[in-house]
């Protein structure tokens, strides 16, 4: 996978993960163009399109578009499954996730994504394991903070 973008139906970016090195300007340009292209698609159209020399796989969940750019030899259908798995992870973590969760907790959305994919490939195929790791890391955050608190006030 070269990159993944999440954006709303109004074209507002909610998450961007780039697995290829590009300048900020290029990223903005690609984002703008791709968002326009995907938003112009009609509901009955298929989830795949050719864009520049990449294959774009996108799926809409409620008010959010999940859009991945994959290479020629990648399997489009399994990419749809990857997108779905990510949504399931978010759903489990936030409890019936909606766009607002992702807006207000974007950093958590990134953390979950980084526990599921690395360098554009899936690193863990078990839903349970991904969620467990996130849970532990969150706990680590709390403990360290707690320790600071304890040090300061006790």
């Amino acid at each position: 996978m070269q990159f993944m973008l999440l954006f709303s139906r109004q074209g507002k970016l909610r998450l961007q993960k780039w697995y290829v090195p590009l300048s900020d300007k290029e990223k903005k340009k690609i984002t703008r163009e791709l968002v326009q292209t995907v938003l112009a698609r009609k509901p009955k159209m298929c989830s795949f399109l050719e864009w520049r020399d990449l294959k774009i796989v996108y799926k809409r969940y409620a008010s959010l578009y999940f859009c991945c750019a994959i290479e020629d030899q990648d399997n489009e259908l399994i990419t749809l499954e990857i997108i779905h798995r990510y949504v399931e992870l978010l759903d489990k973590y936030f409890g019936s996730v909606c766009e607002l969760d992702i807006i207000f907790n974007f950093e958590k959305a990134y953390f979950i994504l980084d526990e599921f994919l690395l360098g554009g490939e899936a690193q863990e195929t078990s839903k349970k394991n991904v969620l467990k790791a996130i849970e532990q890391a969150d706990l680590l955050q709390e403990i360290k903070t707690l320790m600071v608190y304890q040090k300061k006030y006790m």
């Binding site: 970016l13 909610r14 998450l15 961007q16 780039w18 697995y19 090195p21 590009l22 300048s23 900020d24 903005k28 009609k42 009955k44 159209m45 298929c46 989830s47 795949f48 399109l49 050719e50 030899q73 399997n75 489009e76 259908l77 399994i78 749809l80 499954e81 990857i82 798995r85 807006i103 207000f104 974007f106 950093e107 990134y110 953390f111 980084d114 526990e115 690395l118 360098g119 490939e121 899936a122 690193q123 863990e124 195929t125 078990s126 839903k127 349970k128 394991n129 790791a133 532990q136 890391a137 680590l140 955050q141 360290k144 903070t145 600071v148």
Partner: protein, 816 residues
């Protein structure tokens, strides 16, 4: 200094902004606050500030001043700081900036941290955006982690290694030892990432590929276990066990089995098993089937398996899910070359996909349809494709039209069908047709001699309907110009002939000239067409008027044409019939065919008969009138050079010449000799040489002497090339009546080459009052005995006379 506001607070505030300007103001205020906070080197709130900065960055605002702060967060000992710091690094830093190198040391330390989640953060960041320098520095650490027993870290290290290899391919070797027992892991995460790593290595290096082939049995076993094992809740997706891993294994098998018989055989069974047992009701099952099909088609699978694969694709085509249909069409397009017959079986389903609503599916179906067209199905397929052309989006029309032309050219069952198909394309997608189609079509039409009447009639009718599509109009005007006589004569075998008068035709063509819809090129075509009709129609005055009007046209191109045509009417009227004669059949050259003719005129159309030279029309006529005044100085013989090329090519075969040099014949022959103006540079220049010949020492001879017509040959060696004999014939008439329309033709055996130049005249005056001379040049490279067959035709005392003779009495010096 009050504590900086929390992230959530900021997000909430920004979202309340009602306009872009309001939002910008809020952002600027907050950025200023953050900047001062950074300046104060406040450790407590750095994390919060960077998080806010990242949010604003996502909205599109600049955040580069936070880059160094991210580095400071990464160096912190607090996990929260590190988490945000690494996230910030991945979002704000990129390898083009040197700043990112400062991360290297931190990452190195964190790769060796006591907490695996910190190590994980470092691996993730390195694997996501590590530059080549960073990868070089840290590859050793990654390799170490690849060998750890901690599966959480091992799986991340594997993908990090993939990134390192992509950035620095030379480092691939160092990861080889660590791959030894990757596949014996039970942990699916490690298995999956290991397969990805192995795939990357095999794709990059043929040596690695050969080395890892031995893993095929192990991979087959793992795949088998996945399929056969019972329900495993941890990895289950809609009843299928770990589809992600299955797909990756299938992909690796594809790479390992490609081109290798043994490996392909070893995986045959498992592929068949997966292909038949996978549940197809959900997308996930189809994803696996899709990968399986791709693998079967790429390796050396047995034919039964290949047929199975194509049938799976065929079933995909009937699936309700358009994603599946799309994927099927893409795969079929890849295999149509190699498994053509198998794909043909699904032709009707593919053709149905042309009517799909989705643009991508339509495009694939169109490409596939063209690939499937052959001699047997051409009629049916073309019907569907033309229907598609009618109704498809403009973006498809150009490609579809070109495809139709190509297919029609290859498989047309009859000329009439071919022309009908072209007409259909021109009328439905006329404006989208590519520019080079116009000359190609004209060439095709010219070559279908028997269809000329039908073609011009249909084109004329199409013009009456619609003159907006330029390629159609151009082809139509060209045809009307060429075959207008057929149009008004009302002869048409193929369909009911229409009754058209000359005036109606001229009305249409003049209409094109004045219409706003016509492009300048089109106007050029129609003016030339009108001009050509001056020799085919009788309303010459009307044509003259039109042509003279455009002599003052603003369009320079039109003006030039009109002026030249005007000149044709005035001074050079006797040349007009010759110039405006029917076009000969055009040879299609390997690359551009008629464009060769196009270029030589410097114009966009091959309509004028003058090939290969741009000299003004004026000169030859003056030469004609001043025949006797001409001496060697003139050097632009326009028409005559067409003469020599014709016989030269015909002169090879002894018999051919007399076959195809039929005088006054239809289209194929270039301007017949009889209509040539009687001027000839070479004929004149040979006269002074007459005296030289005696000096050169080859005696003249009498080649023919019958019925009062005597033909003498005189010889001369061409100076630059001693192999070329220059023979001048002198025809004299001893009878009391002139011989008019005299034509002399000659043929030589294959080993010679002959060039016949124009005669001085075609009237041999009676009573030896004068001679007609003509120059023959014979190239005799093999120094063989010269033989010649000659044919003479003339009119004497009202009757046509024709005679053939052989000339064998050439003096030896003429060919030695």
């Amino acid at each position: 200094m009050p504590a900086p506001i929390r992230l959530r607070e900021l997000i909430r505030t920004i979202r309340t902004a009602r306009t872009q300007a309001e939002e910008r103001e809020m952002i600027q205020k907050e950025c200023a606050a953050i900047r001062s906070s950074f300046r104060e080197e406040d450790n407590t709130y750095r994390c919060r500030n960077v998080a806010k900065l990242l949010y604003m960055h996502m909205l599109g605002y600049p955040a580069h001043f936070g880059q160094l702060e991210c580095l400071k967060l990464i160096a912190s000992q607090k996990f929260t700081d590190k988490r945000i710091g690494y996230l910030g690094a991945m979002l704000l830093l990129d390898e083009r900036q040197d700043v990112h190198l400062l991360m290297t040391n931190c990452i190195k330390n964190d790769l060796n941290h006591s907490t695996q989640y910190v190590q994980g953060l470092a691996l993730c960041t390195l694997g996501c955006m590590g530059s080549s320098e960073m990868c070089r520095d840290l590859a050793g650490e990654v390799e170490k982690l690849l060998k750890t027993s901690n599966s959480y870290l091992r799986k991340k290290a594997a993908l990090c290694a993939v990134h390192v290899i992509r950035k620095v391919p030379e480092l691939m070797e160092m990861f080889l030892p660590a791959t030894k027992n990757l596949l014996s892991e039970k942990n699916h995460g490690v298995l999956h990432t290991s397969v990805v790593l192995l795939t990357e290595m095999c794709e990059r290096s043929p040596d690695m590929l050969a080395h890892f082939r031995k893993l095929v049995p192990q991979l087959v076993r793992i795949l088998k276990n996945l399929i056969m094992s019972g329900y495993s809740p941890e990895h289950d997706v809609s009843g299928i066990s770990d589809p992600f891993l299955q797909v990756r294994i299938l992909r690796l098998l594809r790479i390992l089995g490609k081109g290798d018989d043994d490996s392909s055989e070893a995986m045959n069974d498992i592929l068949a098993q997966v292909a038949t047992n996978t549940e197809t009701s959900k997308n996930v099952g189809n994803a696996i089937l899709y990968e399986t099909v791709l693998t079967i088609m790429d390796i050396k699978s047995e034919s039964g398996l290949r047929v199975l694969a194509i049938n799976i694709l065929g079933r995909f085509l009937l699936n309700n899910d358009k994603n599946i249909r799309y994927v099927a069409l893409t795969s079929l397009l890849k295999t149509v070359q190699t498994d053509h017959n198998a794909v043909q079986r699904h032709r009707s389903t593919i053709v149905d996909c042309l009517k799909d609503l989705d643009v991508s599916i339509k495009r694939r179906a169109m490409e596939l349809s063209f690939a499937l067209v052959n001699g047997n199905n051409i009629r049916g397929m073309m019907k569907e494709l033309l229907y598609f052309l009618d109704s498809c989006d403009p973006e498809f029309k150009a490609d579809c039209a070109s495809g139709v032309f190509l297919a029609a050219e290859k498989y047309a069952p009859s000329k009439r069908w071919h022309i009908d198909t072209i007409m259909r394309v021109l009328t439905t997608a006329g404006s989208y047709v590519r520019d080079d189609s116009v000359p190609n079509l004209i060439q095709l039409i010219t070559n279908s001699v028997e269809m000329h009447a039908y073609t011009v009639q249909r084109l004329y009718k199409a013009l009456l309907d619609d003159i907006s599509q330029q390629p159609l109009v151009q082809v139509a005007s060209w045809c009307i110009g060429e075959y207008g006589d057929l149009l008004i004569s009302g002869q048409c075998e193929e369909e009911e002939p229409i009754q058209v008068t000359e005036d109606e035709v001229l009305d249409v063509l003049e209409g094109l000239l004045v219409s706003n819809l016509s492009s300048p090129v089109t106007r050029g075509y129609s003016l030339t067409a009108i001009m050509k009709l001056s020799t085919r129609f009788s309303s010459v005055n009307r044509i003259k008027k039109v042509v003279s009007i455009y002599g003052s046209s603003i369009d320079v191109e039109l003006q030039q044409r009109a002026v030249e045509y005007n000149a044709l009417f005035k001074k050079y009227d006797h040349m007009r019939p010759a110039l405006l004669e029917r076009m000969p059949i055009m040879e299609k050259t390997a690359s551009n065919g008629p464009t060769e003719i196009v270029q030589t005129n410097g114009e966009a159309e091959p309509s004028v008969v003058e090939p290969k030279h741009p000299p003004p029309v004026g000169q030859p006529a003056s030469q004609g009138n001043d025949l006797l005044d001409l001496l060697g100085g003139n050097d632009v013989p326009v028409i005559p050079t067409t003469m020599p090329t014709k016989p030269a090519s015909a002169g090879g075969e002894l018999l051919d010449l007399l076959g195809d040099l039929s005088l006054g014949g239809p289209a194929p022959a270039p301007p017949a000799p009889a209509s040539q103006p009687p001027f000839l540079l070479d004929g004149l220049s040979s006269q002074p040489l007459f005296n030289d010949i005696a000096a050169a020492g080859i005696p003249p001879m009498t080649a023919y002497n019958k019925n009062g017509l005597k033909i003498d040959f005189t010889f001369e060696r061409a100076n630059p090339n001693p192999n070329v004999a220059v023979i001048t014939i002198h025809a004299s008439n001893s009878t009391e009546a002139d011989m008019t329309d005299f034509v002399f033709q000659a043929a030589v055996p294959k080993t010679f080459q002959l060039q016949l130049l124009s005669p001085s005249s075609n009237v041999v005056p009676a009573l030896n009052q004068g001679t007609v001379t003509q120059v023959i040049r014979v190239l005799n490279q093999q120094k063989q005995q010269l033989r010649m067959r000659i044919k003479l035709t003339y009119i004497h005392k009202g009757s046509a006379v024709q005679d053939l003779a052989e000339v064998n009495n050439f003096p030896p010096q003429s060919w030695q």
